[in-house]
Amino acid sequence: MNGAARPTQAAVRRDIGFFEWFFSADTWWGNNGILESLRETVVLCAAVTLVAVVLSVPVASVLAHLRRAELSTTWLVSISRAVPTFAIAALLVPWSLRSGRGFEPIPIFTALLLLALVPIYLNTYTAIRQVPEGAVDAARALGETELSILTRVELALAASLVFAGVRVAAIQVVATEPIRAFLGGDGLGRYVRDGIGQSNNTLVVGGIVLIGGLAALTGLAFVVLERLVLPNGVRRLARQQGKRTT
């Protein structure tokens, strides 16, 4: 929020055609343009995903290594899928406002983080549990420390599935982030919000196209990233183990 006086947003005509709207320069540039909204969305989603990775991967790895939390893991999936993200964010907004922290980022960040933690946690846990016992035993026999087994054998062999978990989490975060626009924020959800509020279907469609597009790009980006980061052998191994992303 900058304080500089500037002409405030112009309303988009209700009868504007989708292409006319989408290909107009005003739609893209400026403080209320798509590029700025896109930046807001990408920054938040990247931060959420990153924090989720930092929090879930170590916990899941250690628990899986120790063979703990087998049952709770299954229940965690069920609960997390049923938790209404919107309700959590909405409950946090008044608290955040009253404690002087503003609309953002705490409520939306927390809600999205809860959403992102689970797929990463689960995939990491499952992946490490699927590492062949033989590999772990062999490393142990060679005198590797438990930490070294975890990071250099188990996590290395599980990397591809962990990656898949992060990808799923990131896509879900991108697809859910638009609720932010209904809670005092902006981001790409603004087009959906304004479209609904102003009975402007062009804006709703535009919002869906942008959000769906960003989600698809996110998925693609992870595929590319995986190719760049993970060695071929690890990826081949993952394919043999079968694809488990849900």
Binding site: A4, A5, T8, A11, V12, V93, F103, G184, R190, G197
Partner: protein, 324 residues
């Protein structure tokens, strides 16, 4: 009486009428309210007396409130009142806002809606000139409702207009004063495309305010929270929001008369009105005449500050006024 006896599931019924749209609605406009006005005053004077006259047989009257507390209570008041009078009434689960309500009349999914007349004006004639006089507005929207198969009945004294709200310590006392204050402005998405709202505030030919920033907020208590927290310095809310008093906010005077009159008025599907004859019109007019702005505010205090449910608040008010 039990206010919930008239409640049924809304969902499945909505399936049926999708294909039977428009045809019926379009055919029966044209009815004008002038012809019957002579009878109304006689009956409005003694509403409780009418309970003795059972209404003629007629179709079920489906009423549905717009999805915010005040409108839900209003719908409960009208619905429970008609139910007590012996009409076959179905109070549907509240849903949607003005657009959905008007579509309901147009598509014959709903038989009775209650709207704010200034709001109806912006919805039905979005490009028309803005009017602040209630009777002028009625003259414009009456025929427009008739076109979609609805009959606009007399408006109630109750007004719930747009309110330009600022914190209690603001230096401004009129909206014009805000021009020099470099305020951050918060409102719902609807406001930002309306000449009677944001466009009027910023239009150099009207208020010509240059806000330092704008925030789009969901209409409701979030507006008050944002204003109180200093995230925004001015919001567009409604006159009867009970939080305005609660938080010590103040409503600025609309010194240029931008805001339209927002009396509440019932709109009945013409076909249903004709089926019941003048009795239904008389009963509704009698009720509308009793609802004041203070009533709206009192209902909102009950629902939004005391967190009671609209149905119970409506029953209580009707009982207190000997209407049921």
């Amino acid at each position: 009486m039990n206010p919930h006896s008239t409640r049924r599931r809304a969902g499945l019924r909505l399936l049926v009428p999708i294909l039977t749209l428009g045809l019926v609605a379009a055919a029966c406009g044209g009815d004008d309210s002038d012809a019957d006005t002579t009878e109304v005053p006689a009956e409005t004077t003694a509403p409780p007396a009418e309970t003795t006259a059972p209404p003629a047989e007629g179709p079920t009257i489906r009423v549905r409130g717009q999805d915010f507390s005040e409108a839900i209570t209003i719908a409960e008041v009208y619905g429970q009142y008609l139910d007590a009078k012996g009409y076959d009434v179905e109070i549907l689960t509240p849903a949607g806002f003005r657009t959905e309500a008007i579509d309901g009349i147009r598509n014959a999914d709903l038989d009775l809606i209650i709207d704010y007349i200034g709001g109806s004006l912006t919805a039905l004639a979005p490009d028309g000139e803005s009017l602040s006089d209630a009777d002028e507005i009625m003259a414009v929207i009456g025929p427009l409702y008739a076109e979609i198969g609805g009959t606009l009945l007399d408006y109630a004294p109750a007004i719930d207009g747009d309110a330009f709200v600022v914190r209690g310590d603001s230096e401004a006392s009129t909206i014009s004063d805000v021009a020099d204050l470099d305020y951050v402005f918060g409102a719902s998405a609807q406001c930002f495309e309306r000449p009677q709202c944001f466009l009027g505030y910023t239009d150099p030919d009207v208020y010509g305010i240059e806000f330092s920033d704008t925030v789009t907020l969901e209409f409701g208590p979030l507006l008050g929270e944002a204003l109180q927290a200093g995230e925004v310095d001015a919001v567009v809310w409604n006159d009867t929001a009970p939080q305005i008093d609660e938080f010590g906010f103040k409503v600025l005077e609309d010194d240029l008369g931008l805001h339209p009159a927002q009396n509440i008025a019932p709109i009945v599907r013409t076909e249903v009105l004709e089926a019941y004859g003048d009795q239904l019109r008389a009963d509704l007019d009698a009720l509308s005449a009793m609802i004041t702005t203070e009533d709206l505010l009192a209902w909102n205090v009950e629902t939004d500050l005391e967190f009671r449910e609209s149905a119970a608040v409506a029953t209580e008010w009707l009982e207190a006024n000997d209407l049921i």
